[in-house]
């Protein structure tokens, strides 16, 4: 009885121990995770940390160079660049997560259904996936954003739609492998319903490569959000966003050249962290790859 009760706690301890070992052995994972944790904290505490309001304009302090009072200077409307950078963090994180969540919400069920049911349904869905993968991603996102209406949430829905075929294809191919497994056949022979088999047996066992893909896609979503906001299709003024800040900085490049560095570096570091985490998870999940890396 007590063994059953302590099982989850023991499992959690074992998991935490493995997690700690992973972080100690993989510097890239530790740094990436640490950076993202700090960024999330910054995003949550933006109102407390930011020295100024991100939208307050001061026409007596336009395009100031970095210095006391305004650590990173001010933009062409006299707004504090550091504060806008800090307030841009939650925007970027929200946008990346939203796009990937929508991609998963569409791609996962479609991929599982296609892989599990097979036959005509699979052929139809696979053809649709192939076609959607032929659309250049950003161009499709621009088109869908134009249809849904310009704005951050709509443009990220568009990016999610662009992500979904890739995720669907990945989960479909995993499902094809997992559904051959003996335990799936056993569940079927016991009369388990299709939905129970998919939810309890297929999904948990097919989801590993999706976790890697999702982490890498967060970086792509971040870059696409910055691009769309730079183009004016994403975040609308006066809301702060790293991409939109770069658009303003570009317009004032000769008067205030320092302004294009902070948002660009923020985007670069965050994308590096998402990618680093994704690659590390991939390496951690794949024992074959781990051996290969040791050998070469």
């Amino acid at each position: 009885m007590s063994a059953v009760a302590t099982a989850p706690a023991a499992l959690r301890r074992a998991f935490m121990a493995r997690f700690g070992r992973w972080l100690r052995h993989d510097m890239r994972a530790a740094i990436s995770l640490g950076y993202l944790f700090c960024l999330a904290l910054l995003a949550l505490l933006a109102p407390v940390i930011a020295p100024h309001s991100p939208t307050d304009q001061d026409y007596n302090a336009i395009l100031l160079p970095p210095g006391a009072g305004h650590l990173l200077g001010t933009d062409d409307l006299g707004r504090d660049v550091l504060s806008r950078l800090i307030y841009g963090a939650p925007v970027s994180l929200y946008a990346s997560c939203l796009a990937v969540a929508i991609g998963v919400a569409i791609g996962l069920p479609v991929g599982v259904v296609a892989g599990y049911l097979g036959g005509k349904v699979d052929t139809l869905i696979s053809r649709l996936i192939d076609t959607l993968l032929s659309f250049p991603g950003i161009v499709l996102a621009v088109g869908v954003t134009a249809a849904l209406g310009i704005g951050l949430t709509n443009s990220m829905i568009a990016v999610g739609i662009v992500f979904s075929p890739e995720l669907a294809r990945l989960i479909r191919s995993q499902t094809l492998v997992v559904k051959q497994a003996l335990y799936v056949e056993a569940a079927r022979s016991f009369g388990a319903s299709t939905s129970r088999i998919i939810l309890r047996h297929i999904l948990p066992n097919a989801v590993q490569p999706v976790i890697v893909q999702v982490t890498l896609m967060l970086a792509v979503a971040l870059l696409v959000e910055a691009s769309l906001s730079f183009l004016g299709l994403g975040v609308q003024p006066p809301a702060p966003s790293w991409g939109a800040m770069l658009a303003r900085a570009y317009g004032n490049m000769e008067a205030a050249p320092a302004q294009m560095y902070p948002p660009g570096i923020a985007i670069l570091l965050t994308a590096l962290a998402f990618n680093g985490l994704g690659e590390s998870i991939r390496a951690g999940l794949d024992p074959k790859l781990r051996r290969l890396e040791l050998r070469t």
Binding site: P136, A226, L246, G276
Partner: protein
């Protein structure tokens, strides 16, 4: 007798290739039809009455009715789609709402500018990425490999439009080596067109270089650690001749796959790069159309790009069969 036999065999190989080619061309027809359906269906995502959206802000009721009649929005969806598809098949992609210009003309005017920077950055991606991949794979595990892998991480993560801004500030505004913005028609002034395309191509190629280097490295590491390479080493072949004669031959197929993928990605990424450099290409065309709710133009550009990607993939597949005859046999 033996001559007849050989001719017969060659004939059969060519017949198989032709049959395969015909099948492959037929396979892209449904893809393109589904693509046209999706492109046209995008308009259905517009919330509310598309005619009101298309007519723009502060349009008179007459203008809205005019738009509705002009684009056939009062008819059922499938009938609209059928008419649109029929016109599109004849090269008629309707007219721009903002400028009244035929969409096909607008696209054809701007396409060369876009293709020039896509071709430029694809070339740079291969010219820089292949040596990097080979260097990393042949020195796998060393510091050089680590440095190249680190560089590729930056290549994938750097926002291309920010890199473009940095290039403009250094090489255009600072050193005055290249023009900061604009484009010159490649037919009017070839040297000028290339000069204008240099910075956009470099900005665009960062992720391409990284992708080529990474894929080539992993494919080449696999080949170089395979059984038959070990046999060749045992036979006493020099590492250089193993690499050039056997290694690179075996990674040509994965490399082709990467090229197909890159064309798709570069075509997409030009959208932002053209905005930075104020290049009148299809990318800036689609962005301005999206900002101005000019749907016929949006649809036209998206369709053109999909068709270009599909045709590129077809060419890539055709090259597979030349490089690897097993593909057409299976």
């Amino acid at each position: 007798m033996s001559g007849v036999g050989r001719d017969g065999a060659i004939h059969m190989v060519w017949a198989a290739r032709l049959r395969w080619a015909a099948q492959r061309v037929l396979q892209i027809v449904p893809v393109i039809i589904v693509a046209t359906f999706l492109v046209f269906g995008m308009l259905q995502l517009v919330p509310g009455d598309p005619a009101v959206t298309l007519a723009g802000d502060s349009a008179t009721p007459q203008r809205i009715e005019q738009i509705r009649a002009l684009y056939g929005l009062d008819r059922p969806f499938l009938a609209q789609y059928g008419t649109w598809l029929l016109h599109a098949a004849h090269g008629d992609l309707s007219r721009s709402i903002l400028s009244g210009e035929p969409v096909r003309v607008a696209i054809m005017d701007r396409l060369p500018n876009t293709l020039l920077i896509v071709a430029g950055s694809l070339t740079l991606s291969l010219v820089i990425g292949i040596p990097m991949g080979v260097a990393a794979a042949t020195r796998a595990g060393t510091r050089i490999d680590g440095a190249i892998t680190g560089l590729t991480s930056f290549g994938v993560a750097v926002p291309s439009f920010w890199l473009a801004m940095l290039l403009v500030s250094v090489f255009a505004l600072g050193l005055h080596w290249f023009p900061a913005t604009g484009a010159v028609g490649i037919g009017d002034d070839f040297a000028g067109a290339v000069r204008h395309a240099v910075l956009p191509s470099i900005a665009l190629c960062a992720s391409g270089v990284a992708t080529v280097a990474r894929q080539l490295r992993s494919a080449l590491v696999d080949v170089l650690s395979s059984q038959y390479v070990r046999t060749l080493q045992a036979k006493g072949l020099s590492p250089a001749s193993i690499l050039w004669k056997h290694g690179l031959k075996n990674v040509s197929v994965p490399l082709l796959t990467v090229i197909g993928l890159l064309v798709n990605r570069l075509l997409g990424a030009t959208v932002v790069i053209e905005a930075v450099f104020a290049i009148p290409g299809t990318g800036s065309l689609v962005v301005n159309a999206a900002l101005g709710k000019d749907f016929p133009v949006v649809q036209g550009v998206v369709l053109t790009m999909v068709i270009m990607v599909v045709v590129t993939n077809l060419l890539v597949d055709a090259l597979y069969t030349v490089l690897d005859p097993r593909v057409s046999r299976s």
